[in-house]
């Protein structure tokens, strides 16, 4: 990582009235990497990326996107020429054809990709002449993606890019995003799909209540690498956690919890010990810790907008 980061955010704060939607967020995105934002609705994901896009003004903190301050109107055109944005539920001129819409958007950029190539990339070549208003929901989302990459951006911001996609279209979108990443495009995406973050991102940040609660590669997020397998059981009265032949901890609710990468030898030692000492391992379970487990643990009580009252 000798190159300057594509995005630097330090101590970002944004409030709406009394609500601190973003409360001291800091992160960096290295060029040519895919960075995923996870978090419940209303956690501050959208506000954060809207500040990166220059659509919203921050209250405090430092933000640098491709070397520019996104809040600076004087450089906004130059920044946006290198930026692709795919947001949720933004309309496209309904009466124009798909090709016309892409041609118009291509005209905004100094070095756009060829329209036909982009149609091909998002799998819409056969819809080039269709009017936008005749497209299905999934097709409109693919058009959104096409509009996001038509300018051949250095940085692509994707807000829930595959919500509403069928599995095949989703896989297609993943392949496209991966291919862009391999070509050196920096990608920031938000998603509710853990498998999406895991498949695409080299780094993941979990945001909850306006703060980043964990950040790192998806395979080690929240200590997944230190114990990606979880063994749980209860011990009978009179047996303590210190009697066990393996490293274990007492979990909330009185049970015993072991996190390990090497579940087979650990289980062997544990069960041999239990047989030898005639100690039952009550309610023994062995579970692999998924990214979703880690996420839900990190997000904890933040149930998003539904609990907070939609903003």
């Amino acid at each position: 990582m000798s190159e300057a980061p594509a995005v630097v955010v330090e101590g970002l704060v944004k409030s709406y009235g009394d609500l601190r939607a973003v409360d001291g967020v800091s992160f960096e995105v290295a060029p040519g990497t895919i960075f995923a934002f996870l978090g419940p609705n209303g956690a501050g994901k959208t506000t954060t990326i809207e500040i990166l896009e220059g659509f919203r003004q921050r209250d405090q903190g430092r933000v640098v996107v491709l070397g520019f301050d996104p809040a600076d109107e004087a450089t906004s055109r130059r920044l946006r020429e290198r930026l692709g944005v795919v947001l949720q539920e933004l309309a496209v001129e309904p009466y124009l054809s798909v090709r016309r819409v892409l041609m118009r958007h291509a005209g905004f950029f100094p070095h756009p990709r060829p329209v036909e190539e982009v149609l091909e990339l998002v799998g819409m070549s056969d819809k080039a002449r269709a009017r936008v208003k005749t497209l299905s929901g999934g097709q409109q989302r693919r058009l959104d993606l096409a509009l996001g990459i038509i300018g051949d951006p250095e940085l692509l911001i994707l807000d829930e890019p595959t919500t509403g996609f069928d599995p095949a279209a989703r896989r297609g979108a993943w392949e496209l995003i991966q291919a862009l990443g391999e070509r050196g495009t920096t990608v920031i995406l938000t998603t509710h799909y853990m498998d999406e973050a895991e498949a695409l991102a080299s780094r993941v940040a979990v945001i909850s209540g306006g703060r980043i609660v964990a950040e790192g590669p998806p395979e080690s997020l929240g200590g997944r690498d230190r114990g990606s397998c979880q063994i749980r059981f209860r011990l009978p009265v009179g047996t303590a956690v210190t009697d066990l032949p393996v490293e274990a901890s007492e979990a909330a609710g009185g049970g015993i919890e072991i996190r390990t990468l090497e579940e087979v030898p650990v289980l062997a030692r544990l069960t041999n010990w239990a047989l030898e000492h005639q100690v039952p391992l009550l309610g023994l379970t062995v579970e692999r810790l998924t990214l979703e487990d880690v996420y839900l643990r990190l997000v904890g009580d933040d149930h998003g907008d539904a609990a907070r009252g939609a903003r």
Partner: protein, 266 residues
Amino acid sequence: MTSTGQLRRFRGFDDLRLVGSQVFYEQLSFWLNPFGAVFTVGFAVVFLVLLGATAGNSRVAQFGNIREIQYYVPGFLAYGVMATCFNTLSVSLVARRENGLLKRLRLSPLPSWMMLAGVTGSAFVICTVQVALLLLIGRLGYGVVLPHNFPALLVALLVGVVCFTALGVATSTLVPNQDAAAPIIAIVFFVLLFLSGLWYPLPPHSALVKISGFFPFHHMITACFAPFDTQPGASAWAWHDLLIIAIWGVVGVVVAVRRWRWAPRR
């Protein structure tokens, strides 16, 4: 909404071409949308034809006994400008703001002033088409006298397009949501049109003249009427009316700049 910083970074010919292509795409969007094309252009044409047919050879006493249709033609030229720039534009801007089209443009590199220039330029093209159509119908269908002073008509139309576009943008910022847009704006528009003497000449020195004199609609009709030079001794240049329209235009710009939003209120 347009930043002077953006204007300073003007890139010459390439940017002019970009503005031109915005006018082109605005035109496509307008003519391919049946609502815009029919309601704006079709309405003016249909009403002129109907009014011409019903008026026959009736005369307007207060304007030196000119034929009624001679009064209606400039009135509908003005209507065309006001319907295009005020009514249709403001309804479409509310829709574009609420459905996210404006936000999409805002996030693109297209400078705001170019988007606005595209919208205004497109309005001017639509008005030109309407003026040509209405003059053609008036001349060929009803033998109306064509404007004697074309430059004066052109200036009136230009001032009208710019000022009513500003008012249309301003109005769009005052309407809270898409459902309300069409009815609210249509009521305001048609009540003001009714007061402005589009359907019948306003009785001179009446209270109606005083009320409508406050708003720009009546003045737009007068400004389009004058270049036809049907009134002996009167000037083809309605400077007083144009001034009042321009003042409203400035008000429109101020409101538009202060209240402009790119996305729905959340």
